[in-house]
Amino acid sequence: MISVKQVSKSFGERRVLNQITMQVAPGECVFVLGKSGVGKSVLLKLMVGLNSPESGEIHVAGLKVDAENSQTLAQIRKKCGLVFQFPALLDSVSVFENISFGIRAREISVNPSEIEAKVREKLSLVGLNEKVLGKFPTELSFSTQKRVSIARTLAVEPDYLLFDEPTTGMDPIATTGLNHLIKKLSQELKVTTVVVSHDIKSAFAVGDRMILLDQGQIVFEGSAEKFKTSTASLAKQFQEEMF
């Protein structure tokens, strides 16, 4: 359960989030849609305490997100996995080290063969060949890097999965694969998923619910069916994009 209560955030003069209130139920897959630069990514960072809101509160799994309180923050982060918009892989270590990093850091497992098994499992989950394990991030293409970054997040087996623009910069085939993966995780493993995106097609394919952000406020909230008949002007623009 993620609950966001009346959260506001500005950068300088620009108010990117204005009194946002939303909830994500356990096991639900919510898409947050909107044009570029409306503060969608900021919302995700607020949820894991990488950024602090000016007003309002966010609770994740019943715990209040507070960047000052490092103990609860560590507990919250233990439950969450965030896939960044850009891969954010550690340049100085290999792909294997990258994926196993979280397993070691969170002490999920210390047994080397167990760690290796987990890494291989997640790698096949994102559809990558085991040959990449020994390579360094800079040797890989952008779309492969992004898949590695998703595998790295999945490796810590989070209860809450947050995606920041997962399909940006990926080819159509990889996009479809990723959509299936997100759907599978939320349906089979009951992972609570929040996807920030401007990819309306993925949202229709995968999302249980959609939230449309415009000028710092929620202009639409509801299912895909309801979205098709929405009269909000931005929703109409997105509909035109789709059909």
């Binding site: 892989l89 979280g102 790295r152």
Partner: protein, 258 residues
């Protein structure tokens, strides 16, 4: 006003980082294997530059002091005086300037890149502390490699002075014989202390500046620049204060004059 506020903020941030560095080190969190890796990476890359700089600094000082001593009619002191001035002041300062450019800027650029590409955030979210995992070993690596490079550089300045003195027609042997008459043990201790302090400064400043970089490629550039400037100013400051402390100690305890 903003200038002073920024300065306070930077100094405060660096002191907090230094506190964390000492605390984590005493908790035994340093991964020494990685430190040694980094020392090789940073140190070996900077060795050539340090050697060249050392040679030239030594030669410049020998030449300049020679010209000046001739003006004052005291050229018999050339070897000792130029070596002593170079070891105590000009050498550590100039070589530390270059190292702050090489080692410091390299470290701040690397960390800055990690920050703006969200690698540090990724580490945070995966449950590790970036200060412990990334910064701590780098601080130690920069301190150790800067210190060693400074010592090597200072030795090379002596060599540079000797070689150049031969070139301008001063007898190299009398130049060398003159060195121990003026370069005291105290001076050598002072230059070693300075080297260590400068190394520590470069490490803290560049890690802090890289760690706090924000905003894409421009942010990395800004971090490198402000790292270099802060390093230079702090080096000049501490150089003066260390010299002052040394001269106070000498006056109090009458040490240092052989």
């Amino acid at each position: 006003m903003e200038y002073i506020l920024n300065l306070t903020k930077t100094l405060g941030g660096m002191i907090l980082l230094a506190e964390k560095w000492i605390k984590l080190t005493f908790q035994g969190k340093t991964r020494w294997g990685f430190v040694i890796d980094q020392i090789f990476q940073v140190g070996v890359k900077s060795l050539g530059m340090t050697l060249i700089a050392g040679m030239f600094v030594g030669a410049i000082m020998a030449l300049q002091i020679d010209v000046q001593l001739k003006d004052f009619g005291a050229e018999s002191f050339l070897g000792g005086l130029s070596t002593s001035t170079t070891l105590r002041n000009v050498g550590p300062v100039l070589i530390a300037f270059l190292l702050s450019g090489k080692v410091g800027a390299y470290t701040s650029a690397e960390l800055g890149t990690m920050e703006v590409t969200e690698q540090l955030n990724a580490i945070r979210l995966l449950g590790a502390d970036p200060v412990e995992y990334i910064i701590l070993p780098r601080i130690w690596a920069v301190i150790i490699s800067s210190f060693l490079l400074l010592i090597v550089g200072l030795m090379v300045t002596i060599l540079g002075g000797v070689l150049f003195s031969q070139f301008i027609g001063v007898n190299a042997l009398s130049y060398i014989q003159n060195i121990p008459r003026i370069v005291t043990g105290w001076s050598i201790v002072l230059s070693v202390v300075k080297s260590f302090v400068f190394g520590t400064l470069i490490a803290i400043v560049s890690c802090y500046k890289g760690y706090t970089a924000r905003g894409g490629a421009v942010g990395v550039g800004t971090a490198v620049q402000s790292c270099a400037v802060t390093n230079l100013i702090l080096i000049i400051f501490t150089d003066f204060f260390l010299s002052m402390i040394s001269s106070l100690l000498q006056e109090l305890f009458q040490v240092g004059y052989l």
